[in-house]
């Protein structure tokens, strides 16, 4: 292994990345601009929390003296919500459809009765009157669908836990942790690291096909460089690019208010995971370059790998259907985002089973995909 050659080709690849405007944009500027724009839109600049307008329709037969009123007060006390009380559901739904509120909660007629039934026979669930709180969301708003349900759920959970446990009130909202402290942007921030790295697939595929098209790969093959040295230089280049990219994305997310309180070792693991994932994207890029005759074709074909990873394994997939959530288990990006979310948001330790499992899957898939990419490319286009 000749490090002079590896170093020379690595430097060449880095210069290409920093000097070609299209590459520079796609790898660095696009994720940063995306994060900054997204963060500015949904993150609440300067650390201030966003406030969501929600409507409440109190259908409780007990009226203003019942438990429903206490719940409304609990919702109002939340700094994240601005509560509008509606006299009827139709008016509330109209406001929701016009975007005046981002969600509507209807408290059922039997709400107070349900709680009263519990108090009358706390050890006899069969005698309870069950109640369901309905939550209507602005389906056109990512913020509404992603951020409001966990907020409402937490308020309800807090309210009900103070009153009774177990609860006769049926709450069917997915659970999220530390809802009160996180903005919508912060929920999605872990996926943004994965999101940025995915575009390496396109860059690698384009780079290899361009070098093939303009005869550079053939020319390099007339020099004493060995296939191992050549591939090592490529992998090293993209590792460095991925590292710079991850640092820039982290800086941008930090600027937008994403400041997870985690240890240095957790940060290191997070960056290692992103780098390993980037290597698997190099593998996907090589597979793309193998089947693409031109760089234009490579751009198109790379989307076959980019889009599933994007929609199934990053923040984009936060509201996937249950079927697609199952499908998402087959893309590496899912495990990276899941691990980063656990590390950054859920406070998982780096030795927790979830993190170990996710890391193992990311590493194994990386080895398999990268090996497949190298073998296929070497077979059809000698390196």
């Amino acid at each position: 292994m000749n490090f002079q050659r590896i170093n020379a080709l690595t430097k060449k690849e880095l210069k290409k990345t920093f000097r070609e405007p299209a590459v520079l944009f796609m790898i660095f500027l696009f994720p940063i601009v995306f994060v900054l724009t997204f963060g500015a839109s949904f993150g609440g600049l300067g650390g201030s929390q966003p406030v969501y307008n929600i409507g409440v329709v109190n259908l409780d037969s007990a009226g203003c003296s019942g438990a429903a009123q206490t719940l409304i007060e609990a919702l109002s006390n939340t700094t994240l919500l601005h509560v509008h009380v509606y006299a009827d559901n139709q008016t509330a739904q109209n406001d929701l459809s016009q975007g005046k509120v981002q969600a509507v909660i209807t408290i059922p007629a039997v709400f107070s009765q349900s709680l009263a039934s519990y108090y009358a026979a706390p050890n006899n669930p069969g005698g309870w009157v069950n109640a369901t709180v309905l939550l209507y969301l602005d389906k056109g708003s990512v913020v509404a669908t992603q951020a409001i349900p966990p907020i409402i759920q937490n308020v309800l959970a807090a309210f009900l836990n103070q009153q009774v446990a177990p609860s006769p009130v049926n709450v069917q909202i997915a659970s999220l942790i530390e809802t009160r402290q996180l903005s919508a942007f912060e929920f999605m921030a872990p996926g943004m690291f994965t999101f940025a790295s995915i575009f390496l697939i396109m860059m690698v595929a384009q780079s290899f096909t361009q070098d093939r098209e303009n005869g550079m790969l053939k020319r390099i093959r007339t020099t004493p460089i060995t296939p191992t040295e050549f591939m090592a230089s490529q992998i090293l280049s993209y590792m460095l690019i991925a590292l710079i990219q991850a640092v820039l994305v982290f800086a941008a997310t930090y600027l937008m208010g994403f400041k997870p309180a985690i240890s240095v070792s957790t940060y290191i693991l997070a960056f290692i995971l992103v780098l390993i994932f980037s290597l698997s994207n190099v593998g996907f890029g090589l597979i793309t370059a193998t089947v693409s005759k031109t760089s234009n074709t490579a751009t198109g074909i790379s989307f076959l790998f980019v889009l599933p990873q994007l929609f199934l394994g990053t923040f984009v997939g936060a509201s996937l259907s249950s079927t697609m959530q199952t499908v998402s288990r087959f893309v590496p990006s899912y495990y990276v985002t899941d691990a980063l979310t656990s590390l950054f948001l859920r406070g998982a330790s780096i030795t927790s089973p979830t993190i170990i499992l996710d890391s193992a899957i990311v590493a194994l898939s990386c080895v398999a995909i990268l090996a497949a990419g190298i073998v296929l490319y070497a077979k059809y286009f000698k390196i």
Binding site: N2, A8, L9, R219, R221, T222, T223, P224, I225, K382
Partner: protein
Amino acid sequence: MGEFAIVIERVVKRFEDVIAVNDVSLKVVRGELFGLLGPNGAGKTTTVNILCGLLKPTSGFVSVGGYGVQRENAKVKRLIGVCPQENAVYPYLTGAENVELFGNLYSLDKDTFKSRRDMLLERLGLTQDARRKVEKYSGGMKRRLSIVLALIHNPQIIFLDEPTIGMDPQSRRAVWDFMEELKKEGKTVFMTTHYMEEAEALCDHVGIIDYGKLIALDTPKNLISKNGVDNLEEVFIKLTGRRIREEI
């Protein structure tokens, strides 16, 4: 290395149903400048690619510098310098950076590299533009830079696939002069060209290849004499015909 720098013995290269090189045999004496001539698609570049180890012949044997190209490819790579047909240079690097990259690929030490770089850039008229990005170069400048890359490690055997294509007459003349010097230095040069005047002026021996077959092999002077014509171009036309061909 022996008397012959390049030996091609009964080489056949077949691409599916096309025979690109058909039973070609020739030898290039060490220190001579050999020209392989032929119409578009005749098999010139395929022959060069086989000699450089980029293509494996379907049958036959090739040796370069005394080493079998297929078996001892690593040794061959250290001996040869290749200027391919296309302008294979990195457009986003400067001329000097391209040269530096190739110097490193050949593991040159700093002093050797600097003296070779400065000499070659000077000889090929690129010193003034060495710090400019190659994407700003003209076609002729890229071609000259491509020759510099092929020669940076001072190879003993040089393959030049249409080295002066796209150059203006002044540049072409400068390259010719440089090639004459290479010959004086004892380098073996194997070139392909479409310019008969170039081959006639520079080459010790020429081979004419058509439809993959070597149809003539001699000195330019002898070929002209044998065919009873005035120059090499007339020899070429006489042997390969006047029909216009599409490049494969």
